[in-house]
Amino acid sequence: MAAVAQLTLEDLRAGLGWRKQLDKLFVIVGLLVMIACLAILAILFLDLVRDGASRFGWDFFTSFPSRKAERAGILSAAVGTTMIMFVTALVALPVGVAAAIYLEEYAPKNWFTGIIEINVTNLAGVPSIVYGLLALGLFVYQFGLGQSVLSAGLTLALLILPIVIVATREALRSVPKAIREAAYGLGATRWEVTRDHVLPYSTGGILTGLILGLSRAIGETAPIITIGALSFIAFLPPSPVSGEFPFLNFEWLRSEFTAMPIQMFNWVSRPDQAFQANAAAAGAILLGMTLLMNALAIWIRYRFRKRINW
């Protein structure tokens, strides 16, 4: 008590002044740290575009990789990435949405679904290269799919399933109970309620989740290196559409492949300066695609949110 009694008003004021100074100081420090982080990244990206600028041009998109840096292009990588993304989306969407509908609308609450739920959350924390190892052991050798576009697509689909499931569940959960009750009140079955009422309302959320997942998958390098993507491919997979009956063929699924991030990794790891300009150009394109997909996802979410009024 003696110490308290000795404090004069001046001491208190001085202490308060000091504390307020610290408070102001932190506002500045916080702003600086934030701006510094954003600025460093902005500089890095500008540098990427500047280094790659000399390589942008029609030839870059229509050439195969080459031993000569100035003649190399990303044709096979871009085609490979497109095909892999197609397979990934085709697998991840139905499986992810089905799993989410089951968990959200049908599953009873017991220890088993509890374990599944913890599991789905934890899967998001598994390093992506471990998915690559899984795919190497399971798809490539056990199922005998080989080092193909199909294996790569399945691997990336597995990788983004947790993202799609979590996003879909959130979208399903945000549909008000009243809508379900009303449909049940008219005698609809659980499936009819889900198909005709809940799903249409959650399309926006599901699409957003899928696109965010794909934007993650497009940049993933480690898992597809693990399953054995080649970095030097000077041919295109067989075309999926042909002129004669039956007009579609699935040969391309079995084809060997390369992809944009692999191509970039290959160019970065070469000591030759000229190839690093190629790497920068490929990186800038990859980055552009990722940002575009994210922007698209935000836009879709915004559009759907505006249309729905309950």
Partner: protein, 271 residues
């Protein structure tokens, strides 16, 4: 749903072949990792050391910066600033990691070489710094959510006692949100441990038993990439060794997640 089971099953199945060939004792105590040389050594320690070193460097960058940003956004920034900055920060998490690897090797390393003259072209320092930068968005975003979940009346109680915003943030909000902050750090750690392309590009691929971040070294993930780039026959010892390495990687992330789980439980505040 079967993915986790499948991952564990495949890792255990494929690495069982490896452990038939290599004793567990050698795996854990040998200080060299040269499975592809004629005179093969199978000691996982150098790879684990590399992984832990890059992770430490990344955390030294990401934890203070991420926490500062989170405190600033949650306690000081206006609503509008927060809503603008958050999506931008989250975009940074979406940048392909191979692009970050390019930065580490071709921009960050030359800059560091100006400061530390004898720095080799491949080093763990620049890889770790870039990974740190990469995981800042994860750390700050999850931390901020945790801090905003601390109820308003606790802050008001603190203000009423005459505390400033900074004092409230550090002594009321941060302790109150501790379990959420722990979760954020664990998420950051798992990302850093599992990060592959940045270390594969910028840290070199030579296994090296050292905790000095200025030296080149390989991490577990970089080793897996290195082996996969070559053409290894199915069932060979090199092929099996990447599954053993993957198993160790899974175990490390698992250990951190378990620690995180108990931290979260221990410090959970109920409001």
């Amino acid at each position: 749903m079967f993915t986790t089971l499948a991952i564990v099953a495949i890792l255990v199945y494929e690495s069982s072949g490896f452990f038939k060939h290599v004793s567990l004792k050698e795996f854990l105590t040998d200080t060299q990792w040269t499975p592809l040389f004629a005179e093969a050594h199978y000691g996982i320690l150098p790879l684990v050391a590399g992984t832990l070193t890059t992770t430490m460097v990344a955390l030294v960058v990401a934890v203070p910066l991420g926490l500062t940003i989170a405190i600033y956004l949650s306690e000081f920034a206006s609503h509008r600033l927060r809503e603008t900055v958050k999506p931008i920060l989250e975009l940074l998490g979406a940048v392909p990691t191979v692009v970050y690897g390019y930065f580490a090797l071709l921009i960050v390393t030359p800059l560091l070489q100006m400061i530390i003259p004898n720095l080799p072209g491949f080093n763990m320092l620049s890889a770790g710094l870039v990974i740190g930068l990469m995981i800042i968005p994860y750390v700050s975003s999850v931390s901020e959510d945790a801090m905003r979940a601390v109820p308003r009346y606790m802050r008001e109680g603190s203000y009423a006692m005459g505390a400033t915003r900074l004092q409230t943030a550090l002594r009321v909000v941060v302790p109150g949100a501790f379990s959420g902050l722990a979760a954020a750090f664990i998420l950051g750690i798992s990302r850093a441990v599992g990060e592959t392309m940045v270390v594969a590009i910028a840290a070199g691929m030579q296994p090296n038993l050292t905790f000095d971040p200025r030296e080149p070294a390989a991490t577990i993930t970089a080793y897996i990439v290195q082996v996969s780039l070559g053409d290894l026959p199915h069932g060979s010892i090199g092929y099996q060794s990447i599954f053993a390495a993957g198993l160790v990687l899974m175990l490390i992330t698992l250990v951190f997640n378990v620690i995180g789980f108990f931290l979260t439980r221990r410090f959970r505040e109920a409001y």
